[in-house]
């Protein structure tokens, strides 16, 4: 009996030594930053829970601060205390953070898993790897939903982007985002500008005037939204007839909440969302962040996420693996913005254009709103 205790202690020490070796000195706490809501739940279900199951002892804390990630990372950097380990941001914010040196530059082939068939990560993600810091997760789109029960009798349901501007056939309020991006493109498209010319026209003073003039025609019927949750709420209330928002929000309102809402995919605008790793993490925390990213962005994990939310996985190799919704059991492929039937007419958010013109057009748009 005398010897049992030391032996147990030695065994325990040995065990803890092996676990810490296997972890390669990684931090055991990790703070992930995301958007909250259904999107964050899909990340918890597809990435975080399986990761914690594989690595017991790791605690993940979620911070729903992606909306102000740029400002907060700047402040943290200035104060010299980075409390975030992996941050979910839209591609445009990732580019800004990368330019400012707040996000870590990455080599996709080195830190990301190759596809199951051996294709390198950089080929698997392809064009979606914008900038030097961005690790894409999903393709989402900003598109329109409309109240099916408010479509006027004897009229076809709206299926063309210009129906948004057609107050005679489709009277009622619209919800549009309170910023120029997407709205000015749609306005020009419906004012006779060809799709390939939209950004050339927008680059000119007259083009911007033209877009605002087109928006002026429906201005009295617009409620301006600023958070992704606004439009589903306005549609559920019947406050608006149609409104733009992220397609996953509309999916949740239609399929999960059973609201009488229809999708109008015409001229949907694709955008990307993904991870960045903040610059300035300690070695242990960086090791943990990289380990998580490697796991969370592999082909299977990205396909799994599509079981919980209707956003398209960013890897080519994930697309064939997209199956049914985890609880509703409906096929998810047809609800993806990238599905061929939905993507008949699409726009890809033009990062270069908006990086150059955003401040200028933003100012004009806000001045126009205030008139």
């Amino acid at each position: 009996m005398k010897f049992t205790k030391p032996i147990l202690t030695t065994m325990a020490l040995g065990l803890s030594a092996t676990t810490s070796l296997a972890d390669g000195h990684m931090a055991s706490d990790m703070t992930l930053v995301s958007w909250g809501g259904a999107y964050q739940s899909s990340q918890i279900n597809a990435y975080a829970d399986p990761y914690v199951a594989m690595n017991p002892g790791v605690t993940i804390t979620w911070d729903e601060s992606s909306a102000e990630a740029v400002a907060k990372l700047r402040a943290m950097n200035e104060a010299g205390s980075i409390t975030w380990d992996v941050v979910d941001v839209v591609a445009a914010d990732a580019l800004r953070l990368c330019d400012e040196g707040l996000a870590m530059e990455i080599d996709p082939d080195e830190i990301l898993a190759p596809a199951p068939d051996g294709t390198s990560a950089s080929d698997d993600f392809g064009d979606l790897l914008v900038g030097d810091c961005f690790i894409p997760q999903i393709v989402y789109s900003t598109t329109f939903g409309y109240r099916t029960d408010m479509v006027p009798a004897g009229v076809e349901a709206p299926n063309d982007i210009c129906d948004v501007f057609d107050l005679e056939t489709y009277p009622g309020m619209r919800a549009l985002e309170q910023r120029p991006i997407n709205n000015v493109e749609w306005a020009l498209l419906c004012d006779g500008v060809a799709k390939e010319d939209v950004y050339d026209v927008l680059a000119t003073e007259e083009g911007q005037e033209q877009a605002l003039a087109k928006l002026d025609t429906i201005r009295d019927s617009v409620i301006w939204w600023s958070a992704g949750a606004d439009t589903p709420q306005l549609l559920a209330d019947g406050e608006v007839f149609m409104g733009s928002t992220y397609n996953g929000r509309l999916f949740a309102a239609i399929e999960e909440q059973g609201q009488p809402i229809g999708m109008m995919w015409d001229a949907q605008v694709f955008d990307l969302d993904g991870w960045i790793i903040p610059e300035g993490l300690s070695d242990e925390r960086l090791a943990r962040a990289l380990d998580f990213i490697y796991f969370a962005t592999d082909t299977q994990r990205l396909a799994d996420q599509a079981k919980y939310i209707s956003y398209g996985p960013a890897r080519l190799s994930s697309a064939p693996l997209v199956g049914q919704h985890a609880t509703l059991g409906i096929e998810m492929a047809q609800h993806m913005p990238t599905d061929p039937a939905n993507a008949a007419n699409t726009f890809l958010y033009n990062y270069e254009f908006w990086a150059d013109y955003r401040d200028d057009i933003d100012a004009k748009f806000q001045a126009w709103l205030a008139q």
Binding site: W62, D63, M76, S81, T83, A229, Q257
Partner: protein, 406 residues
């Protein structure tokens, strides 16, 4: 019986007083109701006619007050049911109760019986208008809470009064948002964090605030007013400014605690938030304790000293029991300040210190879920209980100091 006797000797004229005023109130209700059918003017007209009818019935049946009032309530409720649903029927009944009460109040001249007999008509008018304005203020303070509480029992995931809810059907209501609140880590972890941060911050605020108030109430302290102003400043400086300052002040402090003392990031985060909240709570404690000290008889401390008690004993045995109500109400304000605070914690805290208001703030921005309403309802009830405690303590203090006969 007593109510039926409440008829003034000099009753006002029906056509020149009772009828127009009742009709005016009824027209307002009609305007609001008509708005729902996009016919506000028609609604106001119908309302005015209904008001005239009620005033006439009241005038001609002065002694049958109870029967007439129930009759009006029933007629308007049935009208609501015919033109709408159960919800409009309930509104109709409430409007009927208000209108019939007003009609009798005017017709019997009861409005003039609560004022002194020598009041001129203008003074009587002002007296009643004043009471009406007070009622409106109360209404605008409390009314926004009612839909919040009502919607928290919504069966849907939107801030929407569904037709089932308005019809008072059971399937329109559910406790699922309360289950979400009480059953998920998403809400329980922030609640736990709030319950760690708020009490500790309160204890620190109360200790420091009480000591400061006692010190500042001594007449010999130099620069009393300046010190007081500095201590009160967290209440006056815009919170966003204090928060930014605190963020940059506490960040290096936190780094030092982590690097030099080897404390965990989460622990240091709690220390930072608790200290920041304690600073915000101190002004409330100082103000309430200073107010209590005004009524404190200083000869008691001299009496204690003359009997050989040292200042510490005097404080705990003599002064503290008498100013305790002020200390406790200051503590409650400090607690509520920390418990409701969102700006400072968003800056100073990190995700491990997510408090309840933080979770509500992000939840409201990213997903408009009625779980927030359930949380709000629970918080309102907790706040009401806390304020009731304060009020009871205040009364006890008044009794002890002999300010009110009880």
């Amino acid at each position: 019986m007593a109510k039926k006797m409440l008829i003034a000797e000099k009753r006002p004229d029906l056509l020149r007083f009772t009828m127009p005023l009742t009709a005016l109130l009824a027209a307002m209700f009609g305007f609001v109701g008509g708005n729902m059918a996009a016919q506000p003017m028609l609604g106001a007209l119908i309302g005015a006619l209904v008001g005239c009818a009620i005033a006439f019935v009241a005038e001609t049946n002065l002694m049958r007050r109870t029967q007439v009032r129930w009759g009006v309530i029933a007629v308007l409720a049935i009208a609501g049911l015919v033109f709408g649903n159960v919800g409009t029927a309930v509104s109709g009944a409430i409007i009927g109760a208000v209108l019939s009460w007003t009609a009798y109040w005017l017709a019997t001249g009861a409005y003039g019986m609560t004022v002194p007999i020598y009041y001129t008509p203008a003074q009587t008018l002002w007296h009643n208008t004043f009471k009406f304005i007070c009622g409106l203020i109360f209404f605008f303070l409390v009314a926004p809470l009612i839909p919040v509480m009502w919607l928290s029992f919504n069966a849907e995931d939107f801030f929407t009064f569904t037709p089932e809810m308005l019809n008072f059907q059971a399937e329109g209501y559910s406790l699922k948002h309360y289950r979400d609140f009480l059953g998920t880590d998403e809400w329980m972890v922030p609640l736990k964090n709030s319950l760690i941060i708020a009490p500790i911050a309160t204890i620190i605020s109360v200790t420091l605030g009480t000591l400061a108030a006692i010190g500042l109430s001594q007449s010999h302290v130099p620069g009393r007013q300046a010190i007081m102003a500095i201590l009160i400043s967290p209440m006056i400086v815009p919170l966003i400014i204090s928060a930014t300052g605190m963020f940059f002040f506490y960040a290096p402090l936190g780094n030092w605690l982590e690097a030099t003392l080897g404390l965990s990031q989460s622990f240091v985060g709690f220390v930072k938030v608790i200290l920041a909240h304690a600073v915000l709570g101190i002004p409330f404690v100082i103000i309430t304790v200073t107010a209590t000290l005004v009524g404190f008889d200083r000869s008691l401390t001299r009496a204690a000293a003359s009997m050989g008690a040292n200042p510490v004993t005097t404080f705990f045995q003599v002064q503290m029991p008498l100013i305790l109500p002020g200390v406790i109400s200051g503590g409650l304000f400090a607690f509520i300040t920390s418990f409701d605070e969102v700006v400072v914690v968003l800056f100073v805290g990190s995700a491990q210190q997510q408090t309840l208001p933080w979770q509500m703030f992000t939840g409201l921005r990213e997903q408009i879920s009625p779980t927030i309403l359930a949380a709000a309802t629970i918080l309102v009830i907790v706040s009401i209980m806390l304020l009731t405690t304060v009020e009871l303590l205040r009364r006890r203090s008044e009794r002890l100091r002999g300010l009110s006969p009880a």
